[in-house]
């Protein structure tokens, strides 16, 4: 996956450093992770300083931009399938034998487009040395025959048992009803929140402060008027990218983003969303950095925090929205705290990772110079972790943005409310008009933080008016001038400068639905496919899972997990599946599981094929990239109606929504993996006369295995993330329960279903992610 890095970057060090045969024209772009990014002019490429091909690949915190995240869940448990991160210092750091230049922390491979920073970085080493990694992969199967035999006998046993004892769900006696205690807690909060000291002296302060902070930011933005905000956005982007030609591009993107928000008639909503985002991101970044600091410095804290961070991201936000509303009240506070919970983990993970992966040579040098712990932290470890921290910030921003619509469910207002209210009149065009600014804000912030990241340590700071503090002063001055101009000309976006896209969009949607839904000659149409898919695949899968006796299913999962992993992972998977039974949602969990598995299968088939096409054909990738970016950043609520219109209220619609959401990440990771296969190996194959097909199937795909594994992992995470959205279009089961819990105020229902989703994530993670046995290569 990363053959182009030069030896000074940790993970690359074992790889052959031969330059790629093909000119590495745009490696940075190729990164799978760079989600919400439309044509980015390979920003790092032209830097003259670094050597060879490696330079280009490196400049990319950006590239890892998140796949913006799902509304709810995200990665981790899942995402971070035992990656080296676990064992303390990642190999990236450990392996580096030669003291590396301090400014080049191990390059973050764009490996993962996951929101979860940890993964991103952590997964790097695995795919890194292609040769060694592949060897490691090959080493694993030695046990396979035995394990296979065991699994097969377990399967036979299970099936035989099922036939003898008959099918059946989870025994009622083995369930624990969480609803009652949860509802009691709910009641206690309601009864005590105006009187209990915990609320009076602590929680209410939090919520009042949150309101004040958002109020203040909104006040400032509103007072700046549109010229002020527009100028500030542009100058900020420009300054962050350096006041030069390259920075001007970023500035243009910023200008376009803001101008479009205004043109779409969403200026005020954008400002409100921006105010909420500024506060949420600031809090999340601060909190994440603190947690990351603790986890980076202490192994014990790290171990203790990991499951917490995982749960923070995988638990659907819908599930914990309700408790937050009860405690903090509707509107800004609940929305803010939920956003912070969801957005803080990447910052924490990447900060910790940055601290842990600091070059040991530099640290040793610091020690030998007599620096004490604190001095080492401030002068060596933190500066070395800067790049990863910035990447963490980038991902935190993207994740926060993905919560915009969910925040609107509890009354936070802004763009989310526009999307949501468009749904009530079934107005796709209006929803799209509100969704586009969210994409645009994501693009703007992504470019800005990415550009800032590219400049970190790229060159020695230059002097002059356009650099350093004076540049900031210049930017501030420009903003002030624009604000004053705004005061003169009016601070609200001019009414005439808007364009209504809703009518044409709705017309287009109607046309598409009329012509594609049914009666298309030969292929049938979307509704026909949907029915066939449901009857032919989904129903048998669901009924089969529900028909199997519970113990047989547990056995099956244990066998599968053991087959690909260790005893420990088998135990975890089985326990997680059993937990859904204990929670009393066995049948629904299996229903959801069948949908997730089907969605995963579709995503992987389509995603890997598209990814390979992207890797091999430049023009496919060029055309697909903006599409993928949009799919990843657009709130799913926007495409809820078209999906139902095409596929009907059905589980197939829910699966389509999931596939649409998970596909971009899978495509990107696959394309990246295939493209970055060790050029030397490919060259060798070519020189021995391998045909294109042979190159693909015998060299590229096998060598890209780590990337494919990661693609599966991301598929699982992202598909699970939209289970709740699936509940909104007819998916039923757990997703519907989570929504129901929120909208009916039944905490027990929602939280139970949310936890069950987390459990399913664990199960799927353990049975799809091969664990390395023994020491890593």
């Amino acid at each position: 996956m990363t053959p182009t890095t030069t030896s000074k970057q940790g993970p690359g060090e074992k790889r052959p450093t031969a330059p790629r045969p093909t000119a590495p024209r745009r490696p940075a772009n190729a990164a799978p992770g760079e989600a919400p990014t439309t044509p980015r002019p390979a920003p790092a490429a032209p830097t003259p300083t670094t050597t060879g091909a490696g330079a280009t690949d490196d400049g990319s915190p950006t590239t890892v931009v998140p796949p913006r995240v799902p509304d709810d869940g995200s990665p981790t448990t899942v995402v971070r399938p035992r990656t080296p991160e676990g064992g303390g210092a990642p190999p990236a750091a450990r392996g580096a034998t030669a003291p590396a230049p301090s400014t080049a922390p191990p390059a973050l491979r764009p490996g993962t487009p996951t929101p979860d920073g940890g993964t991103t970085a952590a997964c790097t080493p695995a795919p890194a040395g292609t040769g060694t990694a592949a060897a490691g992969g090959r080493r694993a199967p030695w046990r396979r025959p035995r394990v296979l035999g065991g699994a097969a006998s377990a399967l036979v046993l299970g099936l035989a048992g099922a036939l003898l004892l008959g099918g059946g769900g989870w025994p009622a006696g083995l369930t624990v009803d969480l609803s009652a205690p949860l509802d009691d807690a709910n009641q206690w909060v309601l009864d005590n929140r105006d009187t209990h000291p915990l609320f009076l002296y602590f929680l209410l302060h939090l919520s009042n402060t949150a309101v004040d902070a958002v109020n203040a930011v909104y006040g400032v933005l509103a007072a700046m008027g549109w010229p002020g905000v527009l100028t500030a956005g542009v100058l900020l982007a420009w300054r962050a990218a350096g006041f030069d030609r390259r920075g001007a591009r970023v500035a243009c993107v910023a200008f376009g983003a803001f101008a479009l928000c205004g043109l779409l008639g969403m200026w005020d909503a954008t400002l409100l969303t921006l105010a909420l985002m500024v506060v949420a991101v600031a809090v999340a970044a601060l909190l994440g950095a603190l947690i990351g600091l603790a986890a980076g410095l202490s192994d014990r804290v790290d171990r203790a925090l990991r499951p917490v961070l995982d749960t923070m991201q995988v638990l659907p936000a819908f599930a914990y929205l309700l408790p937050f509303v009860l405690v903090f009240g509707t509107g800004t506070p609940a929305a803010l705290f939920c956003t912070v919970i969801y957005a803080a983990p990447p910052m924490a993970r990447l900060t910790a990772l940055g601290l842990r992966s600091a070059d040991p040579g530099v640290l040793e040098a610091a020690v030998s110079l007599g620096a004490n712990g604190r001095q080492r932290l401030w002068t060596a470890r933190l500066p070395l972790a800067r790049r990863r921290m910035l990447l963490g910030l980038n991902q935190t921003i993207m994740m926060a943005l993905s919560m915009v619509v969910i925040a609107a469910l509890v009354g936070a207002g802004g763009l989310g409310e526009e999307v949501y209210s468009a749904l009530s009149t079934v107005d796709v065009g209006k929803a799209l008009a509100a969704g586009i600014p969210i994409v645009l804000i994501a693009v703007w912030l992504d470019r800005t933080t990415a550009a800032a990241g590219d400049r970190l340590g790229a060159t020695a700071p230059r002097r002059g008016l356009l650099h350093g503090r004076s540049a900031w002063a210049l930017a501030a001055g420009g903003t002030l001038a624009a604000t004053l101009a705004g005061l003169a000309f009016g601070t609200t976006w001019p009414r005439g400068w808007t364009y209504d896209i809703s009518t044409p969009v709705n017309r287009a949607q109607d046309w598409i639905v009329d012509h594609l839904s049914t009666g298309v000659p030969l292929v049938g149409g979307t509704q026909v496919w949907s029915d066939a898919f449901t009857v032919g695949l989904l129903n048998p899968l669901r009924d089969g899972l529900q028909w199997l006796p519970w113990w047989a299913l547990l056995l099956l999962v244990a066998a599968l997990a053991r087959l690909v992993g260790t005893w420990l992972s088998a135990l975890t998977a089985t326990a997680a599946l059993a937990a859904t039974g204990v929670l009393g949602v066995w049948t629904k969990s299996l229903d959801t599981l069948s949908q997730v598995v089907a969605a995963l299968a579709v995503t992987l088939v389509v995603g890997v094929l598209t990814g390979v096409a992207c890797a091999r054909l430049r023009w496919v990738e060029r055309w697909l990239r903006p599409v993928l970016d949009t799919l990843q950043t657009m709130p799913q609520f926007v495409y809820l109606i078209p999906v139902v219109a095409l596929f009907g209220v059905s589980r197939a619609a829910a699966i389509t929504a999931a596939v649409v959401y998970a596909l971009p990440a899978v495509v990107r990771i696959t394309a990246q993996g295939v493209r970055e296969v060790d050029p030397a190996a490919l060259e060798a194959a070519r020189s021995m006369g391998a045909s294109t097909r042979q190159q693909l199937f015998q060299v590229q795909l096998p060598l890209a295995r780590p990337a494919l594994k990661l693609a599966v992992n991301q598929g699982v995470v992202l598909v699970l993330a939209v289970v709740v959205v699936g509940g909104l279009v007819g998916g039923g089961a757990l997703g519907y329960d989570v929504v129901k819990g929120l909208s009916r105020g039944e905490m027990g229902t929602g939280v139970t279903a949310g936890l069950a989703i987390v459990c399913l994530g664990l199960v799927l993670d353990r049975i799809t992610q091969p664990t390395a046995r023994g020491p890593r290569p």
Partner: protein, 344 residues
């Protein structure tokens, strides 16, 4: 120099490195200290200033003469809010904030005065008992004037072709026609958002019908599905209600369920009767009702008919006017109606 772990934070310069264990222990200690200090500071900062103000508005930008109304997710209720907001702003000089909220969340917000009034409530006995009777933080604002009714509906074209479908006893006969891939052999009854009151599973079970509820999960999905069926002139059975703007675009006919009697829906598991006709009601925050002045008086007076509400709802949903524009248009044409709502 001894290599034992130094005790202080300072280490002699150029000394040999302490063993690894000492370094991680030190790091751990530093982390613990940092965390503890940060935590203590945060708690101190937050609680030093005494008890927090309760019942403060949780919404950005509120001022003294601000009234906050909820905007529920369905258009009829948006029409209420739009007209009330327009009149409060233009006739009484208030500033109105609207907040999009689910129904149950709106009740909670109402009780803690994040929201001042809910203008259309379809009946939440549990919340009513908790907030109106026990905690007395919410008071009734009287009837809205609109009567809501939930029921099972089939499209008119299907009812015309098969007139006997409108009796529940004959539904089984058509189950096959209502079946979809989702309902697996049984007839499908399309359900809406989890927000809305439904006893359909109990009704189906207790009447022994060959039907299966399929949950659309959101009103938008349900409407989209209905429109799609109508466009293709397909038979379908759906949980639906009036007043609803879609009823003006799509002709639906209600299926008669066993008549509603007082108390027949008391036990949710044993319901086997139709849904009642519910006079929709308004609820106000108790403090707002007392001190809300003209705004509270106006909102108590606010009543209109189903037709009037539908007129505004259609402008919003059908003509795609913004709620404000729709309200403005309606207010312009119906001065006689709203004049009576203004407090004397």
């Amino acid at each position: 120099m001894p290599t034992g772990s130094p005790t202080g934070n300072t280490r002699p310069t150029h000394g040999p490195r302490p063993p690894r264990g000492a370094r991680t222990a030190r790091a751990r200690r530093a982390a613990r200290t940092a965390t503890a200090v940060a935590g203590a500071l945060a708690v101190l900062a937050l609680s030093a200033c005494g008890a927090a103000e309760t019942g403060r508005s949780q919404r950005a930008g509120d001022t003294e003469r601000t009234v906050t109304l909820t905007v529920p997710s369905w258009v009829g209720a948006q029409a209420n809010t739009a007209v009330a907001a327009y009149l409060l702003e233009n006739e009484l000089g208030y500033e109105v904030r609207t907040q999009q909220l689910g129904e149950v969340l709106a009740w909670d917000a109402l009780s803690r005065s994040d929201v001042d009034a809910v203008l259309e409530d379809w009946g939440h006995p549990k919340e009513e008992k908790r907030y109106v009777e026990e905690r007395k933080t919410v008071v009734s604002g009287g009837d809205l004037g609109v009567t809501g009714h939930i029921g099972w509906y089939v499209p008119k074209y299907f009812a015309d072709a098969h007139p006997d479908v409108t009796d529940w006893r004959n539904l089984d006969k058509y189950a096959e026609e209502f079946a979809t891939a989702e309902s697996g052999g049984k007839g499908q009854i399309l359900e809406g958002s989890p927000d809305y009151v439904t006893h359909d599973e109990a009704i189906i079970r207790n009447l022994g019908l060959d039907l299966k509820p399929v949950y659309a999960g959101s009103e938008a999905a349900q409407i989209t599905a209905i429109r799609k069926h109508v466009a293709q002139k397909k038979p379908f059975l759906t949980y639906w209600w009036t007043p609803q703007w879609l009823n003006a675009q799509v002709d639906l006919v209600e299926v008669k369920l066993p008549a509603y009697r007082e108390g027949c829906d008391a036990d949710p598991a044993k319901v086997a009767c139709a849904y009642p006709r519910t006079p929709l009601r308004k609820f106000l925050n108790a403090d707002f009702a007392k001190d809300g002045g003209k705004a509270a008086a106006f909102l108590k007076n606010f009543t209109w008919t189903t037709e009037q509400q539908n007129e505004v709802a259609l402008m919003i949903a059908d003509r795609k006017l913004s709620p404000e524009a729709a309200a403005e248009e309606w207010v312009k044409d119906n001065e006689a109606v709203w004049k009576t709502w203004l407090p004397k």
